[in-house]
Every structure is written in C-alpha cells, then in structure tokens.
C-alpha cells in the first residue's frame, strides 16, 4: 500500500478543522496516511485525526533542537521522515505556516511542489489550482517524487473514516540549521476566526464608512453561528479594517460555504479572492453593481438595513 503524509497544523494543541479536508485529499487514492503534527503533541493529534482515516501519527524529534522555533530544522526533520517512511506524497494546508513548511520540504527533497491546490490526483500527479490570481483554473502535471501539495482550506470536504491510529516515534537524523529563530509569536489582538478557514464569511466594502460600523457585521457574524468578518480592498485602503481582513487579489483567498458581500461592487480583484465560495450573496444599493452578475443571491438595498434585518431574523429563528 502506498503511503502519503499529511502535515497537521495544531493551535493550542488542537488540530485545526481545515486539516480534515487535507486528510480526505490524501485518502482519495486509498493510501495509508501518516500525520505529522505541527505545533502540537502526537497524542492530541492522534485523537483527532484517527476519526478521519489516519493510520499513523509520527512523533518527530531532533536531538538538541527545538523544532517549534526553527522552521528550517523542522522542515529538515520532516523531509528526513518522508524519506525514511518512503512517502510518495506530502500534503498540507495552504496556510501561511503550512505553505512555508511545504516549500522548505520540497526544496530539501528536490521535489515538485504545487500550492493552493483545489483538487489533487496523487496517482496521476495531476493537480488543479488557480492561476492569474483566481481568474483561471490551471491543471498541472507534477513530475518527480515525492509530490508536495498545499491544499486550499475548505477546497476538499472532510470525510469521517474512524480507525485506531498508531503513534510512531521518529528521531530524525538531521543537524539543527540554526539560521532562523522564531523570537516571538504575537497572538492576535482579539479571538478571531481565521478568514481562510471560516465556513461562513460576511464582508464589508467602502460603504461601511467607518471602522466602527464593522460592528454591524460582527453582530451578524455571531448570529450566523461564528462567521468570520472580511473586508474589500477599498474598505482596507480607507482605513476601516486592517489588512489582515482583506479578501481579494492582494489579500486573502477564501473558499467558504457561504460568502456574504455587503457594499462590495465585485471588482475582478475581489472576485479573485472569493470566487470558489460555494454560495455568494451580495447586498448592494446599486442594482447595476457587477457583483449581481456573478453571485447566487442578490439583494438590492441599504447594507445596514439589510444586515440588521438579517441579524434579527437569524436570532429569532435559531
């Protein structure tokens, strides 16, 4: 049986939800899946990932090195384990940490790499990903081994497949690189939901008119059961929202189940960041706004009135 590895990103020792879709991507060819916990313990990782079909959890260590503060040494250790366990592919989340590690590992292994994949066929070495910032879909053939792919969060649906996984301790025989050191991790100022991994996103554009008014979207996000709040470039450039919240070509690429665009006209650059959302809802006063030509549900009206009404309806019916 062929083996595929999955980088499993953890926060506060909990596996991030979006990883389960990556595991589903690795399971498509019925491969035996090896999970590599990143930023968490093997025990905590095992409890979560075995529900989705993972067979082995690799408990990685390097003598004398602190893997969490040296991404180069962590990448070397994982690359060493990929060779040791003869994995034919390694998948991970296309998150900032995931794609950084995958690129480092691909470089060490002289392996082909495709990031931000929407679909992967590991048997054929064929991946589908965006090109031209989401304006086109590209099919790439990767040659060389192992195949290294970053999967766009939420692009592949997770599929439960419970089993009992084993923990495999592995002492990587690599030297600490010591060239990069994480000096400090600055936590987010508030407990926010990661935009790129959110199932529902409600975004505001220039007509939000102030940073203060984003409160209206946050209240609606809560009523939606914990949605994330995003912003258009126009709203970010006007200083109404931080760049972290920007969806679009020079911001984040998102792929939620539901995207609600409020007061966003729908520029090609904004669409580049959210067009793979399953359902797009647009609220705009201008019935000629281009976004109405490219969404699933369109509501012509004042965004504040509509969003407030939406919040009330959601609260009343939950």
């Amino acid at each position: 049986m062929l083996r595929t590895g999955v980088l499993t990103e953890m926060n506060d020792n909990r596996v991030r939800e979006a990883n389960f879709g990556v595991i589903a991507g690795a399971r498509e060819g019925d491969d035996e899946v090896y999970a590599f916990p990143v930023n968490g313990t093997a025990d905590a990782c095992k409890d979560a990932v075995q529900t989705y079909g993972v067979e082995k959890v690799v408990d990685l260590a390097v003598e004398g090195a602190e893997l969490s503060s040296d991404p180069e040494t962590l990448a070397k250790a994982i690359a060493d384990a990929v060779r040791h366990f003869e994995l034919k592919a390694l998948l991970g989340l296309n998150s900032p940490r995931g794609r950084d590690l995958l690129a480092r590992i691909a470089t060490i292994l002289d392996a082909p790499l495709a990031l931000d994949c929407l679909k992967v066929d590991l048997g054929q070495g064929i991946v589908t990903k965006s090109h031209f910032s989401g304006k086109t879909l590209a099919t790439l053939k990767l040659s060389g081994t192992p195949l290294i792919c970053g999967i766009r969060p939420n692009a592949i649906r997770s599929r439960p497949d419970p089993r009992e996984a084993d923990i495999l301790p592995y002492q990587a025989s690599v030297e600490g690189a010591g060239r990069i050191r994480v000096k400090e991790v600055k936590k987010a100022e508030s407990e926010t939901i990661d935009l790129t991994e959110a199932n529902i996103i409600i975004s505001g554009g220039r007509p939000m008119n102030s940073a203060e008014n984003f409160k209206v979207l946050h209240e609606c996000a809560d009523a939606l059961g914990g949605a994330a709040v995003g912003a258009s470039r126009a709203a970010v450039d006007a200083g109404f929202a931080p760049h972290d919240m920007q969806v679009g070509q020079t911001g984040k690429t998102v792929s939620p189940q539901l995207y609600i665009a409020c007061g966003i006209s729908g520029s090609i650059q904004h669409f580049a960041g959210m067009k793979t959302a399953k359902v797009i809802v647009a609220v705009n006063t201008d019935e000629e706004a281009p976004i109405f030509g490219k969404c699933d549900y369109g509501l012509v009206g004042d965004l504040f009135e509509v969003v407030l009404a939406l919040t009330e309806v959601l609260k009343a019916s939950s």
């Binding site: 600055k186 009135e305 309806v313």
Partner: protein
Amino acid sequence: MQIYVCLKHVPDTVAMINIVGDAGFDESVKFVMNPYDEYAVEEALKIVKQEGGEVIAVTVGKEAAASTIRYAMAMGAHRGIHIQADAQWVDSMVTSQALKKVIHADGTPDLIFTGKQSVDGEGMQTHYRLAAALDMPAVNEVTTFSIQEGKAVAEREVGGGEREMLEISLPCVVGASKGLNEPRYPKMTEIIKSKKKKIDQFNLADLGLETPAASSELLKLEEMPERGQAKMIGGSPKEMAEELVQRLREDAKVL
C-alpha cells in the same frame, strides 16, 4: 551592501485573461512588474539608502520583461540583469538555477529580495529554491523588515492575525508581502535616467543548466466556472432577510 531583487514581468492584475489553445493566453494584454516585487524593490532601496551599496534587478523572462527591469531602475535600482527566456512559464527549478548562476557570477549578495509570489503562476517557490541553491535561509510573506546587529529581523503573519518575529542570519532571501512598505512611484527625472542604466543580457538556453530532478508542467488553462443567473430577492429589508435565510437553509443548505 549588494542587494539583488528578483522580479517577474506579469499581466496587469486588472487585465482580462483570454485563454488561447489548451494552456496559452493572449499575451497582448498590458504587462507590469509583479505587484509584490514592488515591495521588494522598495525595501532594497531603503536598506541601500541607510547602509550604502547597490541594488541589482534581475529577471527571467521574455524580451518584453526588460520593461520591468527598467521600472525597477526608474524606482532607483542601479543596474539590471535580464535572462531571456522564450516563454512566460519557466519552471521554478529552472528559474532558480538560472538566477543562482547569474547572481553567483555577478557578485556577492548580502541580501536577496523578491515578492512573496507571482500573481500569474502563483507558484510561491522560486525564492525558496534559489535560497537553497545559494545555501541561504529564506523567509517569505514578510511584512516588516530590518537589520539589527548583523542579523535580519522580520515579521510575518502566520494565520488568524497571529504574527511571528523571526531572526535570520545574513545573507538571506526575503519574500515581500503587502504592508512591508509603500512602493514609490518613479519620478520623470528617474525614468529618464533609468534609460541609461546598464542591463546585462543572458540567454536562458545558453546558461548550460542541468535538467532538474522535478518539474511541473501546465497542461490546461480554463476559465474559473461562473455561476448561473443570480436569484434576486426583493421586498423590505425584513422580507429580503427572511427569504434569504429560508433559501440558504432549504435550497443552498449552507446554514
């Protein structure tokens, strides 16, 4: 300081991409410097202003890519290197080997900047491969950068608003993200001066690069699937909200 900035000449982000054949596109659209590379050029210029030295703009691209080098020079880069290729898509392993070869022959980099990714191929890997080829550390998606006590200090977002402060030994390769700085607009006098600056020319095919161990080949380009006609929902705000929630629950099943 000798700072190399690696650039890519790409279709303007507002350009419509018209697919030609299986995997080609109409290249008559306007091309510009890859937007993220502007942050890279600006950062290199800022450092050279403080520390002294020169900024060398390097690109692998077709003949027209020379205009991206000229743009970097109009921003203030001192000279340029153009490795001519006969296609818009050159595999990252080949590009990184070509960059390594010409940079190595040209000088001794103290720093190499580039954009975090190109906005056309979105590969996000050439700079990592270049760093490995030159045996330097790489950091990507950098939003603040400085040199302190002989080391690079960089900040990058790692998701959910969380940020990492990194200390990196020099020389290193840095991938610039939006927010790193405000790239300058070239002044007319600088644009005129840039025309006299030197661009060394190489041909990719003449560099004698070995065939890489891995590659990715573009088989097909397609339009992103568009949505059907939008369902417009009318009425008072309350009526619209009620109908929307019902449709999202019952038809789309996303709530």
